[in-house]
């Protein structure tokens, strides 16, 4: 951070390393002579990147290990490039600190709420249409994969309630969460967690006129107290396994994996069918070679062979209509057809992001933070 008056003349003199803490929204007209303005396109063919480096932001740990083995290592060989993998989420503050003109990652993996938050803060990403035009495999994806307008969703899981089967009748209704038998045995997440955001929108939709009825959601969540609030899904599953909670907001694949391992747990998909997504964005102001590599990586990610392997490992569903549903899910009746995917709802994250500060503060108040 430097102490200076916010003028524009200084900025227009800057070169590529514009990272002097630029504020988010910079008009792109100042950089018409830069290489970014050139169109980069990709047609799906393998090309030689000459050893270029591409920066990606994506989850690490076991996820990174699998994706490297199943996708990235081969990608580096085929395209003669090097992938710089950064796994320390959160991405949003890093993007805004470096600014749109100096994107911290060329291609980044998100859940939608944070993606939309960054997208609203500036001109960071190529639009979904622009990506679609340069990623051949995207043509095979269902429409909801482009709902964000700023990236392409490649995998998703429906939101569910994960509940213990040894504590009474199975859960079969969104409002069962509020049943008195679950007092202080119901689990959800902190105000900054994406699952809580989706739960909030779904609650608004259920108890109010529509997903925009925030007051109805606040009211309902107040009535749901006391609840056990967790930080992340693993913790929630261990709470469920230990019997600290009997019903929890969760996502299908992860909760089902616990069921498959023998715990007395089952899932019920919310009848509003919101989904948790893995969405990749490509930065608008990346250099041409990086952008081309990003398109290529995006294309590879949408390859049915990769999506199938990924689904087998982590139980996520693919957005590519040509990919298969992994056996454990298929056994439960999950299908990858137009009819099956029609019902899925992507909440209006733009609305959420606009009201995020208020929502966070009121939820904090309800939880007692």
């Amino acid at each position: 951070m430097t102490i200076r008056k916010p003028t524009h003349t200084r900025r227009s003199v800057l070169k590529r390393s514009l990272a002097l803490g630029a504020t988010a929204a910079i008009p792109s007209t100042f950089f018409i002579n830069h290489a970014w303005a050139q169109d980069t396109s990709y047609d799906g063919e393998v090309f030689d990147a000459g050893g270029a480096t591409i920066n990606i932001g994506e989850w690490g740990g076991g996820w990174e290990e699998f994706v490297r083995k199943g996708l990235v290592d081969q990608f580096e060989k085929d395209f003669n490039c090097r992938v710089n993998w950064d796994s320390s989420f959160p991405w949003f503050p890093k993007f805004v600190t470096q600014g749109a003109q100096n994107p911290v990652y060329d291609i980044c993996n998100w859940n939608l709420p944070n993606l939309m938050q960054t997208n609203a803060a500036g001109d960071y990403f190529l639009s979904a249409d622009e990506v679609k035009a340069n990623v051949p495999n995207a043509a095979d994806c269902w429409d909801f994969a482009f709902a964000s307008g700023a990236g392409v969703t490649w995998a998703y899981q429906p939101y569910v309630y994960a509940y213990r089967t040894d504590r009474g009748d199975p859960v079969s209704n969104f409002r069962d969460f509020w049943a008195s038998r679950f007092a202080n045995k119901r689990g959800t997440y902190g105000t900054e967690n994406g699952l809580m955001h989706a739960f909030f929108m779904a609650t608004a939709q259920e108890f109010g006129k529509d997903q925009y009825d925030m007051d109805a959601a606040f009211q309902a969540l107040e009535e749901a107290m006391p609840m056990k609030i967790s930080e992340f899904t693993f913790n929630m599953l261990s709470m469920l396994e230990r019997g600290e909670v009997d019903v929890a907001v969760h996502i299908e694949g992860e909760a089902l994996s616990l069921k498959r391992k023998g715990a007395p747990v089952d899932v019920w998909q919310w009848d509003s069918h919101p989904i948790l997504t893995q969405t990749k964005t490509i930065s608008r102001y990346s250099d041409p070679m990086q952008k081309k590599l990003a398109f290529a990586l995006m294309n590879r990610t949408l390859e049915p062979s990769f999506l199938n392997a990924f689904g087998d490992e982590f139980l996520w569903r693919p957005t590519n209509s040509k990919a298969a549903i992994t056996a454990p899910l298929a056994e439960e009746g999950v299908e990858n057809t137009a009819a099956a995917t029609e019902a899925f709802w992507v909440p209006d994250w733009n609305f959420f992001v606009e009201n995020k500060q208020d929502i966070t503060e009121r939820l904090n108040g309800i939880f007692g933070l």
């Binding site: 951070m1 430097t2 102490i3 200076r4 008056k5 916010p6 002097l20 803490g21 630029a22 504020t23 988010a24 959160p90 949003f92 503050p93 805004v96 600190t97 803060a121 500036g122 202080n184 902190g190 105000t191 900054e192 056990k228 609030i229 967790s230 930080e231 913790n235 261990s238 709470m239 230990r242 019997g243 600290e244 995020k356 500060q357 966070t360 503060e361 904090n364 108040g365 939880f367 007692g368 933070l369």
Partner: protein, 300 residues
């Protein structure tokens, strides 16, 4: 060796003072460059108007962020809670950890001593995100302690004692987390106490208890203060323990800072909270150091 010889080999007082300064200059430069300046800039931005995503410090000055902080009760309560939490944790940790440090320091058997140290270090080593699982198994509503209480008929299964997801949970978590730090600080000091002091006391007829209260305890004051200060600092700045053990109900300043900075990119307001946290801690540190100066004759 006579007096005149030692006078010849002693360097001048000024030379001594200058070479002593060399000891502290590297760290000072490092701190100024990589602590004072970056954090100072961050603090300065707290006087700028709140703009999401803006990181640069501008000359646009305002007190809006501070007004916002002081006008909302949840932030004020968070500040109070942070101080209360840190104070309670440092006192409780001291009470539990001192005996442990004492035992380790006084264990003559080298093997046993090493074993105990290994236990302390192992406890310190386990990452918090997975340690929470262990805490939950013991302290949770369905945890071992509650199961035992139910088995003994002291509580009913529907009304467990809530050791977690509340202020008590955070205290328990922070104490468990801080114990190794306090122990290790104290062990060094207790061991360093001149054994002839204790021997002298005992040869004058003092019981072990009296020796302890009159000789050992006062002599370990520097360690007590240093350890308490360290635990206080750890507790007041901890994000992960209140987040995981508090069930999102225990609002402390680091959680609010994290929300503002890492999640909301509201850097100016986040900086404001950080400034206030820093001032509170500086106040506490000043108190500790004053106590320290008085208790160890200015040597601490």
């Amino acid at each position: 060796m006579n007096a005149s010889q030692s006078q010849v080999t002693q360097p001048s007082a000024r030379y001594q003072r200058h070479t002593k300064l060399l000891l502290v200059i590297p760290l000072t430069i490092f701190f100024i460059g990589f602590f004072v300046v970056p954090v100072g800039l961050l603090f300065a931005s707290s006087f700028n108007p709140q703009v999401i995503g803006q990181v640069a410090v501008t000359s646009d000055l305002t007190l809006d962020n501070y007004i916002r902080f002081f006008s909302r009760s949840n932030y004020l309560m968070a500040a109070g809670r942070s101080v209360l939490l840190a104070t309670i944790v440092s006192v409780v940790t001291l009470i539990i950890a001192y005996p442990m440090a004492f035992v380790i320091a006084k264990t003559e058997n080298a093997a046993r001593n090493t074993f105990l140290l290994i236990l302390v270090l192992a406890a310190m080593q386990l990452d918090m995100v997975i340690r929470i699982y262990g805490m939950m198994v013991i302290l949770g509503d369905n945890g071992l302690i509650n199961q035992m209480l139910v088995a003994l008929g002291l509580t009913s299964p529907d009304a467990p004692i809530q050791f977690m997801y509340n202020f008590l949970g955070v205290v328990l978590g922070l104490v468990q987390f801080s114990m190794p730090f306090m122990i290790l600080t104290l062990v060094g000091v207790i061991r360093g106490i001149n054994p002839s002091l204790e021997e002298a006391a005992r040869s004058l007829g003092a019981t072990p208890r009296r020796t302890f209260t009159r000789v050992t305890l006062p002599a370990s004051m520097p360690g007590i203060l240093s350890g308490s200060l360290l635990v206080f600092a750890l507790s007041i700045s901890s994000y992960i323990v209140p987040a995981l053990m508090g069930g999102f109900r225990v609002g402390v300043l680091p959680i609010h800072i994290f929300q503002q900075v890492a999640e909301g990119a509201r850097f100016q307001f986040g900086a404001t909270i950080a400034v206030i946290l820093f001032l509170i801690s500086a106040g506490a540190v000043a108190v500790y150091l004053k106590l320290g100066a008085r208790n160890s004759g200015g040597l601490a």
